[in-house]
Symmetry: D2
Subunit: 355 residues, 4 copies
């Protein structure tokens, strides 16, 4: 008796690509990583050492990888700029797709992936919002679903990176879509998840500063930004994104309901160790988002695989990724123009606040 | 050898008045509570039992109390509506004044108190922002002053009350000035304290909902509101105020600097007890702001007394109270109109965002 | 109408004496500190500056103070060696007595105070175990009393001082009775409080080391010691005392019952501040026991005063202080001899474990 | 190019056997689970569904499994009573061995495994003390190794299980060796790890009660026990083991050094969620040890595999397992007899405390 595994190819072998490739190779029992592609020679060298010995075929060209014999699914973990293009090509080649977030920094381009997927309803196409797979967020969501906090009404959520003194984020800002699209997209997705995917935005406003990286202004970005989002269903959310945390990654969320509150990671910790010295009692915290969400990514690859093999419904809809980008882009516009932006219930811009 | 004490009168014997009266009677060694006034018979009854036996003279009429022989200072702890009037009368009668916050819900009326005090520079006139006297806030402030967190850049602060199912807050909203003036005023004051009292507002925006008390809308108020304040010195603050916390009072502040962060009360606790049962590990938290800030009020009465007796500088300027009301009122307007409000550097309204 | 206050004299003006004197002077509204005594000139100088201006009469001789006109109660806060003697003299002079712990490092001498008090049942005589007046311990005790944790069965309690590199504790060990009598006495008292004052000891055993102060061995003492106490009512307690904490004072207690657990101070904190920097997230903790228990001492002076004035039952019996010293001295003996010590149900030494 | 994997067989498919089998099957990339054995039909049924489809050969007889073609290593995860026998057979069959703890409840039988392994120095034979593979314990150990806490001097460690009202532990006590051998063995192993594997015991003493399961006395066991261990190197450790925690599994360790302290799990938590309701703020905690140590077991299987394949030194010596059982058995004897037990430096019983 034999057990069939999902044959997966990984597009892109950069920071996240390597992680996805290894997760599918080693930590996704029902998947078999059969192929990987990267246009980058250094990345391919890494793959020769770490993937090829386990039978993974390497491709310099993504299109060639798509033709790999028996390939069933593709993980798109390349540069954001090619996410949508590669995802659409994979869809057209009849592959299931797990695409790193965001589909695109543009809501319109993001939508083209949804449109392509709509034509192939038998395929599993998912944009990987890692927090949806995190045990803590899921625990909070499940508790909310029981009615425990009454009606969820206010969300506070932040994605705050450790200060990287190398200035990496300045260069990165050219392509990231801005701090609300790059960071807060996770928080926005959480708001849509917890408040209901059909929550319609009424207004967005935002402020931001460049406290440590004035050069971010060249790319219409900020290193600290706060955004307010008002929904037509009587719910409100506020988001804080930052690039200058001293202690490490601080991704925190509170869901405040009419009868209670659920807080995720308001007391960050790396592990179970407390350190007592003459400065007091302290704990260390994760330094980067992957330290915090490593197992969420493993769960993601396993659940995606199970959905493909067993033809089960994906845990989140592809449309969610477009909604989140749309709100993130509006917040970024509000941040840069200083204007509050209003929407009517159909989602179109409106001149005035609807009271 | 004898030690002279500050002779104090307390105006108003409601919830806060009683506390102030007892604090000056029993917990302020250098002060002597000599008089108290209230127009309310029930309050006077209470005072007959609790204050009179210790030699405190009671007055039904505030103006009469002001003429009490030897009276040196007045604590104004009456209804907000008469704060300014009583404070000005006391100033004019040459008394030192400790006035409960806010001076008034109107910035203009608040300013009249400042104007009156300006004519009597020898008097000590202070508006009591209790958090300025709290050991935790002071510890955070002192640590910030050492440069420990670099340049303070972002403040998150919230004043969140326990849900009071009696609907008390609906009636109260008629006079409170709204949730930003009533609750967030403390957070606004903290922002001015930590960012510098001369911080000038560039814009304010706000959103709010009535999740548990729809009737608040009658009084142009909300039960949950979030406000954004942008300052001309490149700092930003965001405030959350709520009337619907399930666990108790949650007054939390984070001051985020370019090199570190200071958090006050992100892990609220009533005392040092942890309770382990089959629901997990839990701690109780203060139910009301006085549970949290009781000792801050005691410190306030003691420090005010010392400043009067020793002719020392007060720990906060009276002007601070006007600034805070001005920002609170603008946030409340932004909340109700849905509009983002802009200011020029002189503090006047402006039509457009200054980029 | 006048209110009568308890006229109190303070014996001893050393570290704790000063605190008690000031607490009765300034923070005990129903008491009036009328006298204080110390054989030490430096202490009397301090008193001239801080007590005399408020009408406190100073005495170099304790016996003279006892004759102070109208004196009603005495706080014995002198050196431990004279606690019992001074307490007995005060009792014989018909004064209410609040005596610092321990009555004596000797159980026999401690008992003489109880015997003296027994002859004057109209007097209030109390040994001040500060934790009995701490809000957290009281909260835990009250929760236990409701049956919340079922039957309390196991206690872990520790009294751990911050490392004092001056070697103070070596000199102090000559008179302290040893670490179990000096420090663990509080934990032992807690065990008797929570398990029932009539709990009878079945066995004690102990181990200890001198990790930082080898010279303590000269005085038959240790800088770290752990003791086990077994009671005849099927309950057990274990105590840890240390002189070498790096972060500060760590006085922690857990009461483990058949249905739940109550923990006091398992997460010590000085205040509500958390500090985020590149070493992680940290909080400071109290450095000395008075930082931790300051308000317990204030409550103690107020409750003692109320019991005297209103002829109410004291919150703890004087016998409790003898019981605690007896167990502490047995633990200290077990520590030094290395032997496990057994008792029969009458409290007499026994050669063998009773199984 | 091909990558060779370690061919592993799993002996025993009970609660822990299933976990080990799946860990080697799915979460140990460099291992290949090729065989599994169990005398129990129900366990074999489970294996038919969960292991056989992936090519795992099933055996009813352990000896037959040992002859499986190409088998390189055996995981002994059967009943404790057969651990030693199966381990020795595997050693004699020239297999690497990972044996669940304890090797045996008897120190003498445990030693026979060490003796067998000593004759086959080329084999990797390890007893799996899971905490040695836990990231928090490793972090604490590494911090200690840097000298951060000075000289480690005192250890407090506890293994406390959630109350299991089914009475399971009464039946289990027949075979477990008692609470100190079954539970505290982990804490004892930690003491030897942190204090040095060559730490020699000077004395042990213990007390215990049956607070919830009086029937444990039939099997010479207790449901709550506290043990003291004194070492000749001037270090002391105290252990608490319990079967009656209300909130869940509470395995906590503190390592107290002359300059600082490291605490592991003094604030247990299941995940990053805090729950706010009208009872306060609470977090849930792991319910069973596997919830807490799941990833430690995965690390264990991966590291054992790497040591076998790469001929690297195992992270802990087999002798450690005998030392721990020896101390555990002495504590259990002290618990039951009520006697303090002394050892000379050679490890032999001694009548008197050596001072």
């Amino acid at each position: 008796m034999s057990v069939s595994k999902l044959k997966v190819g990984c597009a892109g072998l950069g920071r996240m690509g390597k992680r996805h490739a290894l997760n599918f190779l080693e930590r996704t029992p029902r998947a078999e990583l059969v192929a990987a592609s990267s246009p980058d020679d250094a990345e391919l060298e890494w793959a020769k050492a770490h993937l090829a010995p386990y039978g993974v075929k390497l491709y310099k060209n993504y299109d060639d990888m798509l033709k790999h014999e028996g390939l069933q699914a593709v993980v798109v973990a390349s540069a954001t700029a090619v996410h949508a293009d590669q995802a659409i090509k994979a869809i057209n080649a009849d592959k299931d797709v797990l695409c790193e977030k965001p589909l695109s920094t543009s809501p319109e381009i993001s939508q083209t992936v949804v449109d392509a997927a709509a034509k192939k309803p038998h395929l599993k196409v998912m944009c990987g919002f890692s927090r949806r797979f995190d045990t803590s967020y899921r625990d909070a969501y499940n508790k909310m679903q029981t009615g425990f906090i009454g009606s969820p009404s206010v969300m506070r959520s932040q994605t705050c990176d450790k200060l990287d003194p190398t200035g990496f984020f300045v260069a990165y800002a050219q392509f990231s879509g801005g701090i609300f699209v790059d960071c807060s997209i996770h928080d926005i997705d959480l708001a849509l998840w917890f408040f209901g995917q059909d929550s319609k935005v009424k207004s967005v406003s935002a402020v931001g500063i460049t406290a440590v990286e004035p050069d971010l202004r060249k790319h219409n970005d900020r290193d600290n930004a706060i955004g307010l989002v008002e929904f037509y269903n009587g719910k409100i959310a506020y988001f804080y994104a930052s690039r200058m945390m001293a202690a490490g990654q601080e991704d925190t969320t509170e869901i405040i309901g009419t009868k209670g509150k659920l807080a995720v990671n308001t007391q960050p910790s790396l592990n179970h160790v407390h350190i007592y010295d003459n400065s007091g009692i302290r704990r260390e915290i994760p330094q980067h988002y992957y330290d915090r969400f490593e197992y969420a990514f493993v769960t993601e690859s396993n659940e995606f695989t199970a959905c493909c093999l067993d033809n089960k419904e994906l845990p989140l809809k592809l449309e969610a990724a477009v909604q989140a980008v749309r709100i993130g882009a509006a917040l970024q516009e509000a941040l840069i123009t200083g204007k509050k932006i209003f929407f009517d219930e159909a989602g179109n811009r409106s001149e005035q606040a609807k009271l």
